[in-house]
């Protein structure tokens, strides 16, 4: 099913169309179950997470904006977020949004509105610009839901070093993706 068809189905689900919900489930659940399994690495928990994911999809489909994100990306973000929430609840990690990080009003940044469409495939090329271990850390964080501590352990570096790795990597990626 292409992304446009998927977008149309989600829009219909936003109108509380149960039949569309069933079709959306058939079309998307293997991928989203794959996300839950890969991140949670526990079948029972992945099944529980998948239920939560689709209950959220049903509740939130009316907020789906086809223009803003791809349909597949929107669905996968819901699945990843659900799995990450479960991972973080299972094994809490340190808060980092302290006062210095704390959420002030954003200053005007016209680039924040820049459309990301078309940039999507460039992530692989941009990851290649990072040192291999840092690109690997980014992938492990995103795909497996690894925490800073788990990454620090895996790469045998101090926690703060890992934070700096990932944050610098994010800035490099952003710069690369905007070129």
């Amino acid at each position: 099913m292409n992304d446009e068809d998927l977008a149309l189905l989600i829009s219909r689900v936003g109108l509380k169309d149960r039949d569309a919900f069933s079709r959306l489930y058939r079309a998307s659940s293997p991928k989203l179950f794959g996300v839950c399994l890969r991140m949670l690495k526990d079948r029972a928990e992945a099944e529980e997470a998948l239920q939560e994911v689709y209950v959220k999809i049903w509740a939130r489909a009316d907020g789906f904006v086809p223009a803003a994100t791809s349909a597949a990306g929107w669905l996968q973000a819901i699945a990843r977020n659900q799995a990450i929430d479960r991972l973080r609840a299972r094994k809490p990690v340190a808060d980092v949004l302290d006062e210095a990080y704390d959420l002030p009003d954003s200053t005007a940044d016209p680039e924040a509105c820049a459309v990301a469409a078309g940039e999507r495939r460039r992530i692989d090329a941009c990851l290649d610009e990072l040192a291999p271990d840092r690109a690997d850390a980014v992938r492990r964080a995103y795909i497996e839901g690894a925490s800073y501590q788990e990454l620090a352990d895996h790469f045998a570096v101090p926690l703060n070093t890992m934070r700096t790795w990932l944050r610098r990597s994010l800035l490099t990626l952003r710069e690369c993706l905007e070129r």
């Binding site: 149309l8 829009s11 219909r12 936003g14 109108l15 509380k16 169309d17 039949d19 069933s22 489930y25 659940s29 293997p30 991928k31 890969r38 099944e47 998948l50 239920q51 689709y54 049903w58 009316d62 789906f64 904006v65 086809p66 223009a67 803003a68 597949a72 990306g73 996968q76 973000a77 808060d95 980092v96 949004l97 006062e99 990080y101 959420l103 954003s106 200053t107 940044d109 924040a112 509105c113 459309v115 990301a116 469409a117 940039e119 999507r120 495939r121 992530i123 692989d124 992938r139 964080a141 995103y142 839901g145 800073y148 934070r163 700096t164 990932l166 944050r167 994010l170 800035l171 952003r174």
Partner: protein, 249 residues
Amino acid sequence: MTDKNSDEPGAEGAEGGNVRRDELVAGEYVLGILSLDDRRKVEARMATDRRFAATVRRWQTNLSGLDDAYQPVTPPRHLRRKIERRAFGAPRPASARPSLWNSLVFWRGFAFASLAVAAVLGGMAALSGQAARPLLAPTLSAEMTVTGTGVDLIAAYHAASGRLLVRPVAARNEGAKSLELWLVEGGHAPRSLGVLPETGEGGLVVPADLRRSLSAGAILAVSIEPPGGSPTGKATGPIIAQGPVARMP
């Protein structure tokens, strides 16, 4: 507290610190690396700060290329029934107040000349003043194409409640767009009533200072704008629909 982030990685860059920090927080959020509390803070901010939400969405799109790593696995059969029971059994959210999109004034006002809405208008007499009701599966639906614009509207009609819901689907052409609703009244330049699809069920809440102006004789118009709405406060894209507002009989 003011200087606490001067040792933040990359803080020496040319950009403002807030923008830089927003980028990092949004990126860390999408990466999934934040704690549960921090994730809730980010989500609360997204709900109130549209620009920040757009930054998160951009990271989501940018990193979504990595989703290819997830191998599809068919879930066990019994899950679907459980999910449907949980989803459909839930009480309807409180957001079901009647919105502009469901209002007859709105539909009368619009001259969607090329839209095949006549077929569903008959069901709308029952709409006036309805409060939230449980929604059953729609009994009728329509996909409407606004000629020459790449914009589609989809409609679903729920016979049991008489509710007709309509949402724009502005994604047919390549490139992202939003649909923005404008109020033209009393010789003023068009004033934005908001971006259409982002508030659920195609509805939006008219800003308090514009409510007096939204009266019979005013004109409503819809334009195609960049995602999130016109960056200038004036309509920048083509006007795809417009029409006068009339009082309901």
